[in-house]
């Protein structure tokens, strides 16, 4: 075990960059949980859909990877809405385990549908942004990482603003806290759920386009990123946006700093360790107060 300063600094930089993306991936999950109290185990697979879409837009149509956001975001929005309508909506009131099983089923379906359609190839693109690096002292950060990082911050802020200050945001929060009461204030709760699910999924469209230039896509890509999203969401406090953002950064840092200082692949145990400790001792997450 060596603690060399350049390695640590590089780890911090890389951790922050990837942490930004983790945050963006997690925000949709936290939104959906916050509103419907549903843990979407198919979340990672939604991201996979976004990545495939972005990939084909780039390779088949030659669209700039960052311009694909204009397509991936609305498409994921509608994918989310579609899946919500046929499968989530009917079981909104069912016990949590049924919902977990249902979304697990959906994740199996999506994953293997991708396998049937696209084969198991691991696909990635080399864009014109690849290879542009910035050096800060000994630390290297790529342009694509920077764009993803700031893109994530922007998306988070935008979403936060919408939820906090607009009527739609208040509807979403009201429906989350008491659906019947919201209905009785003239809020169309089912529509609000639909919207929230759509927005939560659309976040993954943004994430996919930002991620593709320095990542890869395969049918199973959602497994790991989906799991990370859970960790981040718990860390940030389920349903808490800013928490998810901070949580994303923390997990990004944990993964990279853990790799810098821990032997073998034990750094992953660190990630789960944080997850478990938070669930046990601070289930309300890092930012929120404990509720009665």
């Amino acid at each position: 075990m060596t603690f060399s300063l350049p390695v640590i600094l590089q780890a911090v930089a890389s951790g922050l960059m990837i942490g930004g993306v983790f945050a963006l991936i997690s925000i949709g999950l936290t939104l959906i949980w916050g509103v419907m109290k549903i843990i979407n185990f198919a979340h990672g697979e939604f991201l996979m859909i976004g990545l495939y879409l972005a990939y084909f837009l780039v390779t088949k149509f030659g669209i700039d990877p960052y311009l694909t956001i204009l397509i991936t975001t609305p498409v994921l929005f509608f994918v989310g809405i579609g899946i919500f309508q046929v499968s989530i909506k009917p079981i909104l009131k069912h016990p949590p385990m049924n919902q977990i099983m249902l979304t697990l089923g959906i994740s199996l379906i999506l994953q293997n549908l991708a396998l049937v359609l696209f084969k198991a190839d691991v696909l990635s693109v080399r864009t014109r942004y690849t290879g542009i690096n910035y050096h800060f002292g000994g630390v290297v950060v790529t342009l694509t990482e920077l764009i993803a990082f700031f893109g994530s911050i922007l998306a988070t802020l935008a979403l936060y603003y919408i939820l906090k200050t607009t009527d739609i945001g208040r509807w979403i929060r009201a429906a989350a806290q008491n659906p019947t009461a919201a209905t009785l204030q003239g809020v169309d709760v089912r529509f609000t759920y639909l919207l929230a699910f759509g927005i939560g999924s659309a976040c993954l469209g943004v994430a996919a386009s930002l991620l593709l230039p320095f990542y890869y896509v395969s049918p199973t890509v959602g497994l790991f990123l989906g799991l990370i999203a859970f960790v981040v969401v718990v860390l940030g406090g389920m349903g808490n946006f800013l928490g998810a953002f901070v949580g994303g950064l923390i997990i990004g840092l944990t993964e990279s700093l853990g790799a810098a200082i821990m032997p073998g692949s034990l750094s992953r145990v660190l990630t789960f360790g944080i997850f478990i400790l938070f669930l046990l001792f601070r289930p309300q997450g890092i930012l929120s107060r404990r509720q009665a």
Binding site: I100, L108, L227, F272
Partner: protein, 339 residues
């Protein structure tokens, strides 16, 4: 007379399993293998059901206990030549300790529902990485039960028959345990905890203790299943016995069969295991992933159209024809939306 009545509830399981004991007369070897698979998953799901179905604490991390059982007996056999007949109890003891700690840690701090599910999934996933990095446990490559041909002392047989009877007996015990819980104080306390912890506590139920006990009982039973699994497949690996995938599979059968019912896990396994096997054999290589697609489809279908599982559905059909449900432990999904 009264004695008779008290034990009558055990009659049905005994008869069913006695009949099942004749199955080998009719089954070809490969079907014996399927029968054993069914029983393994039925056994594990029944064990899970005590915590998940009866006490309503949905553990997504039972792979942890299965792994402990599998690794303990296998390691002891390889390293010290200890017979798995003893190793199985060592594994159960370790699982009891793990189950107690997990139960205490989680329930002491009031974790429930989705949070409990997530913490257990994280624990079993973390176990995968710990074991993968643990050289004595074979690391990522896992441990292989040394092949000895037929050696009853080491729980190894070339024929399927002994395996079948061992797991049949284990499953019978598990079902009897579930049946026993159905009409006993501990069983009622499990349900009370599931239905309303605050009220249960106020009525003298030590909810923390009850949940921890349920977790320990469930863990211990699951670990025994793990040992059998290791002996039957003669191999244990971190991902094979620990981790999310196995854990989900364990509870799948209980959920699809019917949560919190005596027969649900068994019914779930009897129906689903062959479907999965056939799907893999028939579709597996025509399109990659097609059989798993089917699997996901079955899951989604069940959740959408039979939220209380197969046994739950059967019961509500029976209820419609005027019979009152006698299996009081079932959970029904609440109905209707807000608007």
């Amino acid at each position: 007379m009264k004695q008779m009545k008290q034990y009558r509830e055990f009659l049905v399981p005994l008869v069913v399993f006695a009949l099942a004991a004749f199955l080998p007369l009719f089954l070809k070897t490969y079907y014996m293998h399927i029968a054993i698979l069914i029983l393994i998953w039925a056994y594990l799901a029944t064990s899970w059901n005590i915590l998940g179905g009866y006490a309503g604490q949905h553990s997504l991390g039972h792979g942890l206990y299965m792994g402990i059982g599998a690794y303990a007996s296998t390691y002891l056999a390889l390293e010290f030549g200890l017979t798995p007949w003893v190793g199985i109890f060592v594994g159960m003891a370790f699982a009891a300790i793990a189950g107690w700690f997990v139960g205490y840690a989680a329930f002491r701090y009031g974790l429930k529902g989705a949070y409990f599910a997530l913490v257990t999934i994280a624990l079993t996933e973390a176990a995968v990485y710990v074991v993968s990095n643990w050289k004595a446990m074979g690391g990522a490559a896992g441990l292989e039960v040394k092949y000895l041909g037929t050696d009853p002392f080491m729980m190894q047989f070339d024929s399927k028959l002994p395996y079948f009877y061992i797991i049949l007996f284990m499953t019978l015990l598990a079902v009897l345990t579930a049946q026993w819980l159905n009409r006993r104080r501990f069983g009622y306390r499990l349900i009370a905890v599931r239905e309303n912890e605050e009220a249960a506590e106020a009525m003298g139920v030590n909810t923390l203790g009850t949940k921890i006990n349920a977790n320990v009982l469930s863990a211990v039973m699951t670990a025994a299943g793990g040992t059998f699994f290791a002996q039957y497949f003669t191999y244990v690996g971190p991902r094979v016995v620990f981790g999310e995938v196995v854990s989900v599979q364990i509870l799948l059968f209980a959920i699809i069969g019917g949560l919190g019912t005596v027969w649900g896990p068994l019914v779930g396994a009897v129906i689903l295991v062959p479907v999965a096997e056939i799907a893999r054999a028939e579709l597996g290589t025509q399109f990659q992933g097609a059989h798993l697609l089917l699997y996901g489809g079955v899951l989604v279908f069940t959740m959408l159209f039979m939220p209380n599982g197969i046994v739950g559905l059967a019961k509500s059909i029976r209820a419609r024809f005027g019979k009152t449900p006698d299996d009081t432990m079932s959970v029904s999904a609440s109905e209707g939306g807000a608007s």
